[in-house]
Every structure is written in C-alpha cells, then in structure tokens.
Amino acid sequence: MLDDNPSKDSSGLDIEAANELVLEHRGWSESIAKSVARSWNMDWKLDGLDGAALEALIFCARRFNPGLGVPFRGYARKRIHEASTEAARRSRGWTRGAGSKTRTERLAREVSAELFNVFPELRSGILPGAEEEAGSQGTRIAIQQLLIGASVIATRQGLDAAGPDDTLDFKKMVSTMAKLEAVHQLLLWKIYWEGNSLRRLAGEWKTDELNVIREHKVIVEFLHKHFTRGRNIKFPRVRPGLRHVIGNLTEKQEKGVFATFLETGEA
C-alpha cells in the first residue's frame, strides 16, 4: 500500500529529522490505531494495527515538507487512520468476526468502515460540515448526515446480501432515492454503490469538488427531513454547479439509476 520511497526532493526532511519526527509522534500514532481497534472491538496489536500505523507514520515523516506550512499531525493523521482501518479489515479478526458479539455488530462494522470513504474528514477527527456550522447545532446536523449516509450504505449492503423476502426492508430508502432528480440518483449511485470518493466524482464530472460535496449534503439533508418529518418535503433541484451534468447523462441514466434498479434489479 505505501511505497517506501523517501522523497528525493531537497525541500523534505533528511533521514535524521524524519526519524526524530517518528520518535516524537509514535505515541500519538499508536493512539489512533488504538481508537480504531477500540471502536471495532479488536486488538490493536494482535490484529496488526500497530505495525500499520507505525509504517504510515514513517512514510509520512519521510515525505513531510515543513516548508508548506502544514503541521505534521494535520498532514499525517488521515494516512495513519487509513492504514489502521485497512489493516483491521484485512486481519483475520475482521473476517472471522472475532470479538463481534452479534451479526448486527458485524454488519455495523462493515457500514462504519464505508462511512470513512463517504466522509473522509472523519479520519482527520472532524465531523462532516464542521467548517460550516459551529456549536451543538452543527454537531447535530453532522450526526444526521452520518446516520443517513450509514442508512444508504446499509441499504446497499443489505440488498447485496438479502434474500427475496428481505428486500422489502430496504425498499423504502431505494423508493425515495428513485424519485430524486437523475443527477442526484447518479451521484448517490456513484458514491454509495460504486464506491467513488466525492473528489473522484468531481474529477469525472469536471467540476470543483465543493460542488459535489454541497450537492451530496443537500441530498442527505433532504433524505433526513423526508424520513423524519414526513412526505411533504419538496425534492431538491440540481444546483447550478452540477447542471452541466444533466446534458451528459446517458439515456439509461436519464431515467434514474435507482428507478431502473427498482424495476429491473439492475442499474
């Protein structure tokens, strides 16, 4: 995963300075690995999270460029967290379900792992949308977003695993998504079904990442209001930043990927 290729750029740190950084921040990187293990009821050493976190720390220390003005921990945290979660998912403890008390806990772990892909700011220790809303209200909105995001992930995972009798449980979410505008359906499909990051999707749609982030937020906020306040909430329109995507939809996508999925079981 991580190439051991120390930067040859003269603006980076030399080996000695990089090693100093590793020694200074080792305890901190271990605390990140321990947090991941704690939340998933795993052992941070037995399941290999300690080694993964240290490897990521060394990798970041060698590539760190203090001249860019970014604090080291701000630069490295996301990578260390990602290495820890990946190690956990690859471990025997994960696949065997060791430590998980029930099937529900195991499924919850799967959903939570995917939440980091949809909301990568969590890896930096920050709630979604933290820069836009401050205080208790901002925290509550962030949690609402996470709950909806997790619901969509659970819907997809559930549909993948469900038998014919169980699909009704997930139909409510999919039926609602099928009524969204085609671009919104496609956004959700690309993120939650195909596993694209918001950044990658922005690249594909040749638009600023912020446009995709905001559109995703609008959709999630709508879904939250729809399921908490009732069915009279107006479906959101596509914002100007993504209007150009409408013209590039294929015929199939124009119908709405979830609408097609409901009809045929395929997108």
Binding site: S31, K34, S35, H81, T104, S112, S124, I126, L146
Partner: protein, 107 residues
Amino acid sequence: MSDGIKDKKNRVGGILGSSGVRRASSVRDVEEVKKTGEISRVERTGKSQRKITRLMSAAEREKLFQMINEEAEKLFGENGLPKEQREIVENAVRMAIDASIAEDEDV
C-alpha cells in the same frame, strides 16, 4: 459686490491657444524610503470569517453518543426508516465517530 459677473469684459474668455509644454526639470533629490512601522493591532475582518475546525475530543464522546441515540430515535420508526435497520446504522455511526477520536490528541 463686484459687478464683474455682469460685466462681460471681465468674464473668463475662451482658450486662445496653448504655448509649448515646458520641459521637465531634472530630478533634484529623492528622499530615502522610510521603514514601515510595526503593526499596532489587527482588527476583525468582515462577516465572512473562516470558522476554526475543531477535532472531536475524548471528553465529548459520551455526549456525541447520546446525540446519535436522540437523532436515531427521530429517524427510525413508524414514518421513518425501518426499525430493523436502526441498530446496525446507529452502531455504525457510533463506531465511526469512536474510531475518529484519538485519546492522545491536542484539541
């Protein structure tokens, strides 16, 4: 009061013609550039101020979990999402937030 206003003879007349442009004289001296002084104070900017992004802390973990529970209560139920999904989704969000909070973090 002067009668000059009414007196047409004393009115400002039109431009008769321009004489040549006078040649620019040579530079006599240039004052030394003065050093800028220290900044005395910085005032608040306008309305659009970037908010400080704050890390979640271990101390607020229980509060966050409580909030998750409250919000899940609103989301799952008769008019909301199926109750059967609640435990999975609520636990997933709790795990994701818990995994994001490092104990040894400078907040």
